[in-house]
Every structure is written in structure tokens, then in C-alpha cells.
């Protein structure tokens, strides 16, 4: 039961994009079109779940060796290596998606969601199963945020906005309103 609480807490109540403010750069960058948003969301979810398994194991090793202070450096390197593998895989098996994600795929490495979730897993002392569900919730929450946002932004393209608001400013104000909606989930789940 607890794993589902963790899942929905990460997915809705503490949505990583709207409430915890992680992963904003790809969120603002790739949400202009629906198909790239979906691609990026699934890529990030996949990387999140896999890297949280890897970092969980690595963290156990670091604790045993008494090297916990190296957490940040080691986690980043492990994640970067793993993303490189995903990149090779996509390049070979789905060139369309690879083209569409463009610069944002290597940027998954510096997507703070991935490192943030890995660090939170280590901080909260989650078991492996809990860590995986936490990462899955975070990834699906990110996907949800991207899809909602891309849907609204595609329509927004058609409207005649005041010049200074075009592009980023209106996107941020939109995010504010969606974030307000997500605040409604606040307090639903107590862990």
C-alpha cells in the first residue's frame, strides 16, 4: 500500500514540476509541441526509473565503503553514462524521436529531476521497491505536466498576444495557473 501512496504523492500531490520545481528547463523547452512533449516525458520516465535503480545500488555501495560524501559526483557520472546509452539506443532504433528530442536528450543528464529523485531516494532511505515507485511517480508526473502544458501551448500559438508577453512570459503565467490547480491536491496524502 505504501508504495502506491509514494507513487501518487510524487505524481500529483507533490508534482515535481508544479510544486517542487524540478525539471523546469526541459518543461519549458520541449512543451511547444505535443509529440515532442510525449517523447520527452517517456524518455525522462524511463531514465528516471532505471537510474533510480542504479543509484540505489551505488548508494548502498557508497554507504558500505563510508564514502557517502561522494554521492553527488558519483550519481551524476552514473546518470550521465546511462543517458549516453539511451542516446545510442534511440539513435539506432528510433531516429525520428532522436531528431525530435534534439538537444534535450543529452540535457536529460542535467535535468535536475533525475539527480533530485536519486538524492531524495537516498535521503529518505527508501527500499528498492519504494525508490522505483517514487521515480515512476516523478516521471509520470513530469509526463503529465508536459502533456497538459503542450496541449494548452499549442492552442496559445493561435492567439494574438501583447508583444512583450509572447513566448516565455505567457508560458510562465500559464504554468502559474496550472500550478494553482495542482495546489488543490495539497494535504491529500500524508506519508
Amino acid at each position: 500500500m505504501r508504495v502506491f501512496l509514494i507513487l501518487f504523492s510524487a505524481l500529483l500531490v507533490n508534482n515535481y514540476v508544479f510544486i517542487r520545481f524540478l525539471g523546469i528547463c526541459p518543461f519549458l523547452g520541449v512543451s511547444k509541441k505535443m509529440d515532442t512533449a510525449v517523447g520527452m516525458g517517456f524518455a525522462a520516465t524511463f531514465v528516471l526509473v532505471m537510474s533510480s535503480v542504479i543509484t540505489w545500488l551505488v548508494n548502498k555501495l557508497l554507504v558500505v565503503m563510508g564514502l557517502s560524501f561522494l554521492q553527488i559526483v558519483v550519481f551524476i557520472l552514473v546518470i550521465a553514462t546511462f543517458v549516453q546509452f539511451v542516446e545510442f539506443f534511440l539513435k539506432k532504433n528510433s531516429p525520428g524521436l532522436y531528431e525530435a528530442l534534439g538537444i534535450y536528450l543529452p540535457l536529460i543528464t542535467t535535468n535536475c529531476i533525475i539527480l533530485g529523485v536519486a538524492l531524495l531516494n537516498a535521503q529518505a532511505n527508501y527500499s528498492l521497491l519504494e525508490a522505483v515507485f517514487h521515480a515512476l511517480g516523478a516521471g509520470l508526473g513530469f509526463l503529465l505536466a508536459l502533456v497538459i502544458f503542450a496541449g494548452v501551448r499549442e492552442r496559445l500559438e493561435l492567439y494574438d498576444l501583447p508583444k512583450p508577453f509572447e513566448g516565455l512570459p505567457i508560458a510562465l503565467i500559464l504554468a502559474s495557473i496550472i500550478s494553482m490547480a495542482f495546489m488543490g491536491f495539497q494535504g491529500l496524502i500524508k506519508l
Binding site: F18, I19, R20, F21, L22, G23, I24, C25, L28, F69, L70, Q71, I72, V73, I76, L77, A80, P106, L107, T109, T110, N111, C112, L115, G116, L119, L120, K163, P164, F165, E166, G167, L168, P169, I170, A171, L172, I173, A175, S176, I177, S179, M180, F182, M183
Partner: protein, 202 residues
């Protein structure tokens, strides 16, 4: 003279937050008060300036296709050092900023400056560039934090301005962060457009 330019360009012309739109996560997350914004900004500036200097000093020995992992390691090392130092000496601030101190290591501003500037220029210029961009970032954070703190809590740097009746609590919650940043970005782009117009008229 040239060095001065490297130093000041981060303040307005290449301001990392409003013009280049980098490093959004800490910008939105920690600016619930001016003091948090200042702390976060200075922490990032320290890492940025030092890692820029180190990366610039090793730039000739780094193989081209290995540069990203090497840069990340350098930046993450400084991030770790800062995390431990802040834990030891300014525990309260460390606790409020929480996850965002270790996440300085993946802040795109720092990686961006390493890639765009430090890997091509000498140590002194890179250090100044990092310091300038970092202070520009700090300025944006303090501005954003002050507005949110004044409107949401009725205080600035902890100083009371008016009674609780005027507080808009939502401003220090996540929606307020997005809203304030959106309006400030619109303001910056408005100023930029006006400047351009004036330039064309001349």
C-alpha cells in the same frame, strides 16, 4: 577594459534568468524570501566562478569528446565542497535551501558558461565571466525573492513592512513563483523592445 566587459555583461545584456532563461529550478523554488534568494545566488556564484577558473586552466589538456563528463565532475566537486561547507557553517540556510544546494551541480547556467566561455578563454577572464554571470543570477533571485516576500509575507529581508492583512499568501506558494517570474520576464522583454526601437530611431 575588456575584462570589465566580461564582468558586467551578466548583469543585464546576458542576464542568465530573464534573457537566457537558464537555471529556472532554483530560481523558482528558493525565492520565497529575499534572503533565501541571496544565499542561493551567492552559493551558485561561488561554484560558477571557481569551476570556470579550473575548467579554463585545464582546457588545453581535455580531449574534445570527453569534455562534458570532465566538466561535470569539476562542477560536481565544487558543488560537494560547498554543500559540506554550508552544512558545517551556515546550517539554517543549508536546511532551507535543502535539495537545491547539491543540485547546483546540474545547474545549466554553470554547464553553459563552462561550455560557451571557460573552454575557450584564459583563466582570469573566465573567473570574471563566472563572477559576473553569477552576480547577475544573484540579482535576479534577490529581485524575485523581494517581490514575493513583500507581497506574500509583508516583510523584506525579515523586516516588517505592514500588517498581515495585506498579505497575498499565494505569492510564496509555487503559483506565485511562476506568476512573478512570468510578469518580470514580460517586463524585461518590454524594456528590451523599447531599447531596440530607440536604437532604430537613431
Amino acid at each position: 577594459m575588456n575584462n570589465l566587459k566580461e564582468f558586467t555583461k551578466g548583469f543585464f545584456k546576458e542576464n542568465p534568468t530573464y534573457v537566457q532563461v537558464l537555471g529556472m529550478c532554483p530560481t523558482l523554488a528558493v525565492t520565497t524570501s529575499a534572503i533565501n534568494g541571496l544565499g542561493m545566488g551567492l552559493a551558485a556564484t561561488t561554484v560558477l566562478a571557481l569551476s570556470n577558473a579550473v575548467i579554463s586552466s585545464i582546457r588545453k589538456g581535455v580531449p574534445k569528446n570527453l569534455r562534458i563528463p570532465i566538466f561535470i565532475t569539476v562542477i560536481a566537486t565544487f558543488g560537494t565542497i560547498l554543500d559540506l561547507l554550508m552544512h558545517a557553517f551556515i546550517y539554517d540556510l543549508w536546511k532551507t535551501l535543502g535539495l537545491f544546494i547539491p543540485l547546483i551541480a546540474v545547474n545549466c547556467i554553470i554547464m553553459g558558461r563552462a561550455e560557451a566561455f571557460a573552454s575557450k578563454n584564459n583563466v582570469w577572464a573566465s573567473f570574471l565571466d563566472g563572477l559576473g554571470v553569477g552576480l547577475g543570477f544573484t540579482g535576479s533571485l534577490v529581485l524575485l525573492g523581494s517581490i514575493r516576500e513583500i507581497l506574500g509575507n509583508g516583510t523584506i529581508f525579515g523586516l516588517h513592512l505592514w500588517g498581515k492583512a495585506f498579505n497575498i499568501f499565494a505569492m510564496i506558494l509555487p503559483p506565485g513563483g511562476y506568476m512573478t517570474l512570468g510578469l518580470l520576464a514580460a517586463l524585461f522583454s518590454f524594456i528590451g523592445m523599447k531599447r531596440k526601437q530607440r536604437g532604430e530611431q537613431k
